[in-house]
Amino acid sequence: MAECSFTAEVEKLRLGAGEHFHGEGILAVTKALLQSGVAYVAGYQGAPISHLMDVLADANDIMRELGVRFEHSASEATAAATLAASVNYPLRGAVTFKSTVGTNVASDAIANLASGGVVGGALIIVGEDYGEGSSIMQERSHAFAMKSQVWLLDPRPNLPSIVRAVENGFELSEASSTPVMLELRIRACHVYGSFTSKDNVRPAYTLKDAIERPRREVDRIVLPPSTYLHEKEKIERRWPAAVNFIQERGLNEFFSEGAQDVGIVLQGGLYNGVIRALELLGLADPFGNTRIPLYVLNVTYPLVDAEFAQFCAGKRSILIVEEGQPDYIEQAVHAILRRGDVQTRVHGKDFLHMAGEYTGSVLLKGVRAYIDSQSPALLERHAPPAVLAPAVAEGDRETAVAIREAAAQVHGRPPSFCTGCPERPIFTAIKLVERELGSHHVSCDIGCHLFSILPPFNIGATTMGYGLGWAGAAAFNTPETSKRTLSIMGDGGFWHNGLTSGVGNAVFNQTDNVLVVVDNGYSAATGGQDILSSKASNPIRATNHPIEKAVRGVGVEWVRTVDHTYSLERMRDALRSALTTSEKGPKVVVASSECMLNKQRRVKPVLRKAISDGRRVVRERFGVDPDTCTGDHSCIRLSGCPSLTIRPNPDPLRSDPVTVVIDSCVGCGLCGEAAHAAVLCPSFYRAEIINNPTWWDRWLRHARSTVIGWLQTRIERRLAGLAA
């Protein structure tokens, strides 16, 4: 079960023609798929399209009613390969994943799919994880579209445009026998808005039809000599067909085309930001009526030469607003205009920076600088916006200083392990083992566990991609040392490809190194989706396939499963023994405890109900005695738990803040284990709060309190008269 439940929202997917849909961009995409008569959907979760996967999972019933198959793919490669169903059959299919990381994984299948081409509409919905909040390397999906010649849609970021892009995408794909990629930026995925919906459509041709009447065409299969044919076909038939379709349907948009002798060409996804910039410069109104000509590329690949020639006619120059690098569009436009002998000057990355996100302020500055250089008169009658206003006046200097000093107090707040996270003790244990055995080379993977590279753990040297934790240490395999390397892999990455690329590879190449598989029962970092080894039962998926069994299955002999990662001693002993055992060969430690975020989501309502039903429920949480805490914070340096923080020292003689456990503590036990294992300090206590105590509890408490209370009175007598 995923972290976010969309059971209420999915009802919106049933809305019929003319009804108004209100919701998140990604939910609108789902509705658009159903309106388009899609026959199958697949994907792999990851921000910013995790919600799309979660919505689809929650909408499984609706999709079943419509005859739509939904798959949680094993990887993005699996998802892309799923589109093979549209090669021979007029089936519309859509897949989705995070880009560019997912597109990297999928690129083998995408290239094969694009080579042979499709009969049914094939849509690849990529969540472009670029700019603020991104968790991956900064690259562009554009390159994949170019290299495999699949078409790339980048619609204006409002719900009606996004929905239209889905519908047009299928048609474009069918008209040009080419898969189509729909790129959605992070904020567009999560934007809340509305559109007028249509009825859902049951696919005219179904999966059943295809299975029962199989077809094949050998020239669609990627094997010479067909591959040579495919390449020619792409250029001679599919590309022109796509260009025709884009022009005929007016997929790209022109606004105030002839208003000035300058103009702006922009990716559709940046439209709202550009309009806001123009509005602040007094060159557009809030409704998109602009005094500057705009050519909005809702299709960013292929570019339509004729449309560029048309837009540039009568213009001295154009500004290309293209986010990210390399500047593929700008380069292409230079070539298009040169070939067409059009003399319009091309600007772009000379006014807007080459690398980095085009935020509102960046667009404002870039667009203003361009217009100022070309037609300064246009800017004269409007006061400059705040961010471009001349430097603060003398009287405001004090303000500027105050703001600067406040800003200097700000620390980064990178993501970290949640309160009670079962992965934290694994890294605490690694720290403790490091104290005994010295430091090791640690190869990391992708997942929540990668937070280990940040304070307070500072563990890990590289990360080479999802599931590639052990592969990233493959070279460190030499008989010249007995010291071992340590690799980390999450259960998500393990099932994605790590079982073969990491574990199988290590077995085959006779490694002597150690892998820790972080088995928290979910694909946790992407939002808690189920995977093969999830312990929960899932009505539409098969779970409970243990990682240890899989690891042994591919030939690892030395496997230790620690089924309670919070037991630091067991965790530390397993790691120590993996790193020091005389046994040769690959060693795998499966560290298995349920993701706390998901566990709390599961357990909390149950406990709350039990308490209100009057049943005896014991809740545990930790605490620190402020008068024995000396404010050294070594406990925090071994944990970093958000619930383990500091507060002003109540002791008037001390100034260093003391450690405190705040009420969000879930009583995972790590604090106590760390205090014991690292011999920290006696300040930690575990409180057990008994809800609905039994009569026996009460009697026992009464007896104990009588004795303890009498002794406490004796203590008070000793202290009496010291303080007033």
């Binding site: 603020e132 909040g133 409002n158 999560h190 934007v191 709202n272 309009i275 509005e279 602040l280 998109g288 935020t359 509102g360 404002l364 916006p385 961010v387 206003a389 303000t399 105050a402 000093e405 406040a406 107090q409 700000v410 980064g412 707040r413 993501p415 392990f417 605490g623 008068d627 070594s634 925090i636 970093g640 923080t645 500091i646 003689l653 260093d656 803040p657 009420d663 106590g672 205090a675 014991h676 690292a678 920290l680 300090c681 006696p682 930690f684 206590y685 575990r686 409180a687 709060i689 008994i690 809800n691 104990r704 303890i708 002794l711 406490q712 203590i715 009496a720 008269g721 010291l722 303080a723």
Partner: protein
């Protein structure tokens, strides 16, 4: 609103799990039901795992939209173009200022003044907290209007989350053209935790209108009848700037051991009575050192009634609930030897059967349940070993060390007061338990080792302070060694 129609822009800076998304949802509902088009967006991603997140909203009055048109709403804020900025915590307010979101001409800035400390602040070996007053001052200076209160505490008092308290402040600010009842309806429509949310909303609303006065400073220590004589002595023999500290110290040491011990403390300090700030700082550190944390002290503090009551408060124990307390103790041979009479303690520390047996017994940590009679008695008995403390091994060791340190302070106090002050303050390195304490002591010794060299240096005091900070900056002592290499 200005004459030309434009979108109302709102940014919410929050950390994962604080309900920034809920707040955004309420604002959308509020706007849509009251004549506005609303757009909201955010960048959750991995930021939801405790990281900082910005939610951005734009609201456009439906009445201003010409027929057939649709407003084009931005998905990200432009610096200086925000009508409302909400920061769910004080450092996040600083982040809003840092990002240039807050405008002195335009922005209503709603800030919760509580602190959620950053990892850097939390992991410091000493006090790594940033300057909260600078954050608040920046917020006051940078915004057109600042509404600041500890909305987290208010929310807690009304047993609700912080989001509705901030929503209440937003309603009170009148920055958005909606009535209070419309705001409250938005909470009701969402239908989750309505009652507690409405309470928190009310608290936030009220606090935004009437900022609470700053709390008064904690009351000073007042000495009881048994310490009255010492109190008089403090007043008579010591300068007034030291009185408050000395009263705290005397009270602490009398509780720690007995009134005679407190008396000795004053005797020890007497030679420094004219040393000004050196007296105050030495007095503070001497009191801490003399009340070093041995097992007796820990057991004493953990068995008091006030401590049991404090735990009950901290876990918010309801009258219908019962509480058990489990202590995590890991005494090693050292800590046992510490509280034994010196000779016995030394014997235990020497290799032999005694040490082996004790080591075996103390290999693992123990959990002592102080809420049971057995567990409580165990700690109670350890606490009673206070009567043996003066003869204990640790007492001898600590007092010998103290004497050397005090000797240095006294020696330097007249001629080099700045250096004396830093020597006094260097005591802060020695804290904690077990390895942490041993590590701190090693660092302190390293500092005292270079003291002769620093005495010759005119900037010696400054350098000693820097060295102490370096010693506190990491767990390994590497930073200190690097700096020592330059002395």
């Amino acid at each position: 609103m200005s004459a030309k129609p434009r979108a109302l822009t709102i940014a919410i800076l929050a950390m994962g799990g604080e309900g920034g998304g809920v707040l955004a949802d309420w604002i959308v509902d509020l706007a849509e039901r009251n004549g506005f088009v609303a757009q909201a967006t955010s960048v959750p991603g991995v930021a939801q795992r405790t990281g900082a997140t910005v939610y951005y909203l734009e609201l456009f009055p439906r009445g201003e939209i010409p027929a057939g048109a649709q407003p084009v709403l931005a998905l990200a804020p432009v610096s200086g173009e925000l009508d409302v900025v909400v920061a769910s915590e004080l450092m996040e307010a600083g982040r809003a200022l840092q990002q240039g979101l807050v405008s002195k001409e335009r922005s209503t800035f709603i800030v919760s003044t509580h602190r959620v400390y950053s990892m850097t602040e939390r992991t410091s070996r000493g006090d790594g907290r940033v300057d909260a007053t600078k954050l608040l001052e920046g917020a006051r200076e940078g915004a057109a209007r600042l509404i600041a209160a500890d909305f987290a505490a208010l929310a807690e008092q009304s047993q609700g989350p912080i989001a509705p308290a901030l929503f209440g402040a937003l309603a009170a600010s009148k920055a958005l053209p909606f009535d209070r009842s419309m705001f409250e309806d938005a909470i009701r429509h969402a239908g989750v935790g309505v009652q507690s949310s409405l309470q928190a909303f009310d608290a936030g609303f009220t606090a935004a209108l009437v900022p609470k006065a700053a709390p008064l400073d904690a009351p000073g220590a007042a000495l009881g009848p048994r310490l009255a004589a010492l109190g008089e002595r403090i007043d008579r023999d010591f300068p007034s700037e030291a009185h408050e500290m000395l009263r705290h110290a005397v009270l602490r040491l009398a509780e720690y051991q007995d009134t005679a011990y407190a008396q000795e403390y004053l005797d020890t300090l007497l030679p420094l009575r004219d040393a000004g700030i050196v007296l105050v700082e030495t007095g503070r550190h001497l009191a801490l050192w003399m009340s070093y944390e041995d097992a007796v002290r820990v057991a004493d503090l953990k068995t008091r009634r006030s401590r049991f009551q404090r735990v009950e408060g901290e876990v918010r124990l309801a009258p219908s609930q019962l509480l058990d307390i489990n202590e995590f103790m890991h005494p090693r041979v050292d800590e046992i030897a510490d509280i034994l009479p010196a000779a016995l303690g030394r014997w235990l520390m020497r290799p032999g059967w005694g040490r082996t047996a004790a080591a075996r017994l103390t290999q693992r940590g123990r959990i002592v349940r102080t809420s049971t009679i057995g567990g409580y008695l165990l700690l109670y008995m350890i606490a009673s070993m206070r009567s043996l403390r003066r003869r204990s091994l640790r007492f001898r060791v600590e007092h010998d060390r103290m004497a050397v340190w005090l000797g240095e302070v006294q020696r330097l106090a007249a001629a080099k007061p700045a250096l004396a002050l830093e020597v006094a303050r260097a005591q802060r390195l020695v804290k904690g338990y077990g390895d942490t304490h041993a590590h701190g002591w090693r660092g302190f010794q390293r500092l005292m080792g270079v003291l002769p060299a620093l005495e010759a240096d005119p900037a010696g005091a400054q350098r000693l302070g820097d060295l102490a900070n370096a010693a506190l900056s990491d767990d390994t002592g590497a930073a200190l060694e690097r700096m020592l290499a330059t002395v």
